[in-house]
Amino acid sequence: MPGAESVFRREFAVKGGDFAKAGAAACEIKELLKDLGIDTATVRRAAIVAYEAEMNVIMYAWDARMDLAVSPSEVRLTIDDHGPGIPDVELALTEGYSTATAEMRELGFGAGMGLPNIKRNADDFAIDSEVGRGTRLDIVIRKNGHVRP
């Protein structure tokens, strides 16, 4: 949940299957963070997390709310989707594991790197998924943090 110290918040709606608008929220988030004067490396990590999460919603879920909360020390992204959920979260976090269709792969996605890459770019990463209900991601990116190797 966004903390009380947050000074900037914005909410985005993402619709499942809407490939034409894929990346719109992530690109807007990137511009907002740049306008807030946040350093390039932190902006890049947040934008990558937002884009991967947005693509996951578009490819697999029905709809989602993406919340951005920026405080002096960190960027928080919460992505709460309505969707089929993930039966085996551990497996979904394995690099290369994917349930993507051929159509998704033709678009350059679905290589099984989305969730692992979100985790790599996050300082704090929490995932809660319920089959038949949806998935929630809580991500914190600290301004002095780093991408994991």
Partner: protein, 118 residues
Amino acid sequence: MIALKDVLALLDGELLTPATAPEAAFRKVFASDLMSDVLTSAEPGSLLLTGLANGHVVCTCSVADLAAVVFVQGKRPAPGVVEEARARGIPLMATKMTMFAACARIAGRVEDGGHARR
């Protein structure tokens, strides 16, 4: 470093975003058709060589701070994609060369802009 004009000359390429500065230069190159790999492994500021020519390429480059794109093997993005790239300040080029041939031509002039996965 390799200048955009030298990339065009080596790849017999065409600049799809004419307003781009020909002196723009790149220190590293990343080659992939998978945007997932670009988001995971490409270093910021790299030139991207790809056979994928949809709007996700421009969006991915914008998100991951890649500097420019070469579409290989005669692939050409739709006018809307070129417009999007122009708006985001990302130069686009096209070459008829295969990915392998294009990489071979510029290898040695630039560093690998990716990092291998463990």
